[in-house]
């Protein structure tokens, strides 16, 4: 069962890690991986990103990770190291939308650039080799960087029929077996997007392929970075956190707390209109033009924990609520089943009546039916009582 973010991080995680330990760790990583991959300076210069922009971005990431300003230099160092750490990126049961989201931005920000140039030793979408050659580079990474590589899994894992719904590579290995093999020796497994984190639409009822999120299918601990797609800032921040402290960040509901501990509704730019009672009644009405609250158009912000409000998308240009559509709750478990219809408020959402599967009404309709049933019963009983009293004579009650 999913757990909500705790009110506070455990005491051990409440304070920032000691800076000197972080520096020593970065020195060590520099010696180990410093020679491989592209230097970040060169990478940024080639893409027209100035040193000043990079430092601004480092401050931004330091603040996002809830670290004190003294860590800015360490974060910049970790960012420079990030493209050199070996990463194995597995595509499982998914649409590649998460990869696309990170790699295809028209004006990639520094986060996207770091993602693009991560030392992807195995990434089915962007790697040059194919077939057996690709398979060989995977095996090389697994043996050469045993226990050191980061594993990013995109997509859920079908478990029905022994995982036969998903076969990958020239040998036709099942996704289940491949994921198990790669996860076994990984430094950490990051589940990217809703599918890997919670199962995605393919795990929605009736879930014919037995699709499960990575942590359930493999029975391992993952860092979940859900979203459809996820925000690249959240992934880069998690990788930086790894480089800085070599451990999991504080987790909320299995998700990095620095990114997922706040509810969309509470930091929403339209929240004032919610409190005022000013709502969009239909698409394109006067309220929509004035940026009123989208609650009545089915916004699921009140049930969704994510950092869209703070980080935004496409270089913080916008995100769904700012663009005029309600949140669909894509970072929450089973949103496909529970939050549909996505453009209606939950009061109009379908409700499965327990033990009567398939019977579906809206929450409101079921409620009013209950009250109506009570009223009908009362009326029937009143009429019956009156009738009996009339036929038996008014004396009977007194005689009893």
């Amino acid at each position: 069962m999913p757990k909500r973010p705790p009110l506070r991080a455990p005491r051990s995680q409440r304070t920032a890690p000691p800076l000197d330990r972080v520096e020593r760790r970065l020195d060590r990583l520099d010696r180990r991986f410093g020679a491989s991959g592209l230097p970040l300076d060169e990478l940024l210069a080639r893409n027209g990103v100035s040193r000043r922009e990079f430092l601004k971005w480092s401050s931004f990431m330091t603040a996002a990770l809830c670290l004190p300003p003294a860590f800015e230099r360490a974060v910049a160092r970790a960012a420079a190291l990030a493209p050199r750490v070996p990463v194995v990126w597995l595509h499982l049961q998914e649409c590649t939308g998460c990869t696309e989201s990170a790699l295809r931005s028209a004006y990639p920000g520094i986060a996207e650039l770091i993602l693009e140039y991560l030392s992807f030793d195995y990434h089915e979408t962007i790697m040059a080799p194919a077939g057996h050659a690709a398979e060989k580079s995977l095996e090389d990474t697994l043996s050469k960087h045993r226990g050191e590589y980061l594993c990013v899994m995109e997509g859920s894992i079908p478990t029905a029929m022994d995982g036969k719904y998903l076969r990958l590579g020239p040998a036709g290995e099942t996704g289940l077996s491949l994921a198990r093999r790669v996860a076994a020796d990984a430094k950490a497994v990051i589940a990217i997007g809703h599918c890997a984190s919670w199962g995605g639409p393919q795990s929605a009822a009736p879930n014919p392929t037995g699709a499960r999120p990575v942590h359930e299918a493999l029975g391992i601990r993952t860092i979940r970075i859900p979203g459809c797609p996820y925000n690249s800032v959240s992934l880069v921040g998690t990788i930086l956190n790894f480089l800085l402290v070599g451990d999991l960040p504080a987790l909320a509901d299995g998700r990095p707390a620095w990114a997922y501990a706040k509810r969309i509704h509470d930091t929403c730019p339209r929240r004032a209109h919610f409190d005022a009672g000013e709502f969009v009644e239909q698409w394109g009405d006067e309220g929509a033009k004035r940026g009123f609250c989208l609650y009545k158009m089915g916004c699921k912000g009140p049930y969704t924990w994510n950092n869209c409000n703070e980080m935004g998308w496409n270089e913080a240009a916008s995100f769904p609520i700012r663009a005029g559509h309600g949140c669909i709750g894509c970072s929450e478990n089973a949103f496909w089943d529970q939050m549909a219809p996505l453009e209606k408020p939950l009061a109009d959402g379908g409700v499965d009546i327990p033990f009567v599967r398939g019977v579906e009404g809206t929450v409101d309709a079921v409620g009013w039916a209950l009250v109506g049933g009570a009223a009908a019963g009362i009326a029937a009983h009143a009429a019956y009582s009156g009738l009996v009293k009339g036929t038996r004579g008014s004396g009977e009650n007194r005689e009893e």
Binding site: K3, R4, D275, E286, D348, W368
Partner: protein
């Protein structure tokens, strides 16, 4: 001879009306919060309207009153000096038999059970138990839904966020997700209102058909029974 029977202590009566008022207030405001259809601020321009904010405030205040009434009721349930409700429920076997007898009476209008007892009749007691269990569900799920907007920064009593956090953890553990918690909160409200409707009807019905002044019980604390010799006609 007509005898006066004391049925409800003054604390019980106050808690009863507090509960009734809070249920109505919470239900009406809850309907608005779930689907804000009415009470629209006028005009399109900038305004200092705070309709949803105020409605939620009223909802929370009455919810707190409801919770207080519930906790007092819970105490009286076991420790009331006059008539602990638990005595109307135990021993279960015999009380259930009495409740079924009352239910049969409601549907056949024959064999009225004796009503001279100063305790609440078991059928009513089981009904109240159900309503209060639902109030408890509302309390826990309501705290769970309230948790995200509540932090250490804006709470007067430090234990408060802890309580809300526990309520959220418990209800999410039982129900699966905050969305289901929200739906259960919504449905339980309708269930409480349906039960309250039946309750109000039955009290009016008893007053009209038994002519023992049942409505008076919750106003003055007394009802009036005719001490009859148990003769069985027909």
């Amino acid at each position: 001879m007509i005898r006066r029977v004391r049925r409800m202590s003054v604390v019980m009566r106050i808690m009863h009306w507090l509960l009734a008022l809070s249920v109505v207030a919470c239900f009406v405001t809850g309907l608005y919060i779930a689907k804000p259809g009415w009470l629209r601020p006028t005009g399109w321009g900038p305004s200092d309207a705070l309709v949803m904010g105020n409605v939620r405030f009223v909802h929370f205040v009455f919810a707190m009153l409801l919770d207080v009434a519930f906790l007092v009721w819970l105490y009286l349930f076991f420790f009331s000096r006059e008539a602990p409700l638990v005595r109307s429920l135990l021993p279960v076997g015999r009380r259930l038999g009495e409740a079924v007898r009352m239910l049969r009476h409601y549907f056949t209008l024959r064999d009225k059970p004796p009503t001279g007892d100063p305790h609440i009749d078991p059928l009513n007691a089981y009904g109240f138990l159900l309503i209060h269990l639902l109030v408890f569900v509302q309390m826990v799920t309501g705290f769970a839904l309230m948790r995200p907007t509540f932090s250490h920064a804006n709470s007067l009593v430090p234990v408060w966020p802890w309580i809300l956090g526990k309520a959220e953890a418990a209800s999410v553990a039982v129900l699966g997700s905050i969305v289901v918690v929200r739906e259960v909160h919504h449905l339980a409200a309708f269930l409480i209102v349906a039960l309250a409707m039946v309750h109000v009807y039955l009290q009016i019905w008893r007053d009209a058909f038994w002519t023992e002044g049942h409505i008076s019980v919750v106003v003055s604390g007394y009802k009036y029974v005719e001490d009859e010799q148990p003769t069985k006609p027909t």
